[in-house]
């Protein structure tokens, strides 16, 4: 996905870094400020203009990562800064929508909480569904096309998708650990067999293992 976005944003990445000489963190800061302006526009009632500016902020968000990857400028500080900027942009945008009555404050805060939880679990699970600000475009479409409270609906989706990702993420991390532990045990068993060492005695069959053997 990142390779794909880097290809699409290639000319912008080249322009921002080689022509203007911007660092990834400077680009991130620019994207963050534009994101704040987008939220301000929404809070003033200019929803479409706010969403367009948010789209620009998200494109810039892709450019900073692209510069870091292409020119090998990745730093932990940069990744941290980007995460903080992204979360602040999401929070301000959700609150702006709640402020103008397009969504409830409860849903804005719950959706943001779910995103925060994914941010905390993601470094362990490497799993992030990415359903964040992007869902708001669908909310706008639903509102325009069907006359429903699309933004509120999109925040429900953001909440559920991210909360599910938290639960799934913890399971993924645990599954990975178990796989490692099992692989070590299997390798040890193989080594014992190869060296002709006696294997530890097997546990007596349980009811479940008998059932599985029978099946």
């Amino acid at each position: 996905m990142k390779d794909f976005s880097d290809r699409i944003l290639g000319p912008l990445i080249h322009f921002a870094h080689e022509r203007i000489g911007l660092s990834p963190n400077q680009v991130s800061t620019g994207g963050f400020i534009i994101g704040l302006l987008a939220a301000a526009l929404v809070a003033l009632g200019h929803v479409l203009a706010g969403l367009l500016l948010m789209a620009l902020s998200q494109i810039i968000d892709g450019v900073d990562g692209g510069i870091a990857r292409r020119y090998n400028l990745r730093t932990s500080k940069g990744a941290y800064l980007e995460a903080v900027y992204d979360r602040l942009n999401e929070l301000t945008m959700f609150l702006a929508l709640a402020y103008i009555g397009k969504a409830s404050f409860t849903m804005a805060l719950l959706a943001f909480l779910a995103i925060m939880l994914v941010t905390i679990v993601e470094p362990k699970s490497k799993f992030d569904p990415g359903a964040k600000r992007f869902m708001l475009y669908f909310g706008w479409l639903a509102e325009v096309a069907f006359g429903i409270r699309g933004f509120e609906l999109s925040l429900h989706v953001v909440f559920f998708v991210n909360l599910t990702a938290v639960a799934v993420g913890t399971v993924i991390a645990d599954y990975r650990l178990q796989k490692e532990v099992d692989a070590r045990a299997i390798a040890e068993r193989k080594q014992h067999r190869a060296l002709g060492l006696p294997l530890p005695p097997e546990d007596p069959p349980s009811i479940l293992s008998k059932l599985f053997s029978w099946l």
Binding site: L110, L113, A114, L117, V121, K124, S125, F159, L163, V166, A167, G169, T170, V171, A173, D174, Y175, L177, Q178, K179, V181, D182, A185, I186, E202, D203, P204, P205, S206, I207, L208, S209, F212, S213
Partner: protein, 173 residues
Amino acid sequence: MNRLAEDDPRGYFILTMTIVPHLLMTTLGVQLLGLEGKDIVLAYAFGYGIDLVDHPIKLPLYLKKNGTKNEKHYHWRTPLQEPIALLWIIPLSIYLRTYVPALFFISHFFLDYLVSYDKRPFFPFSVYTTRGLLPHASDNLKEWATVAVLTILNIGLGYRDILNFVSRIGPGT
């Protein structure tokens, strides 16, 4: 059964702690709180059903490692039924505007923590491992005591309902 329980905490857990005490505890909670409608569904889902989702997740890994052979102390649990799951269950409870998922989930892992197999309560944030509450007491004793107390309380609370039910289906009707 008792010998299996003492020798094999894993088998013990699968056979009893998952099924009977969780069902009894959840039923007791439902009765005590007078839950109705979707709250009953949530109570059984988080008080009992979470086991049905959690344990099968590790089945492919177990089969890969052991085939159909028994391994006593295999770690069958995932963070779905560890206290760390409150991270997502509490927001879900707030969203649903009911305390039922969080409360019944706590009752679930409380019972699990009475049995002395290894648990990682805070994984993936910490690999701290514990054998739970009262690890030196016999699992068998804790199990039977829990079942006995929960059964008595359930019957005590549901006494009137049971009598009503019996009188409805009795010969006088």
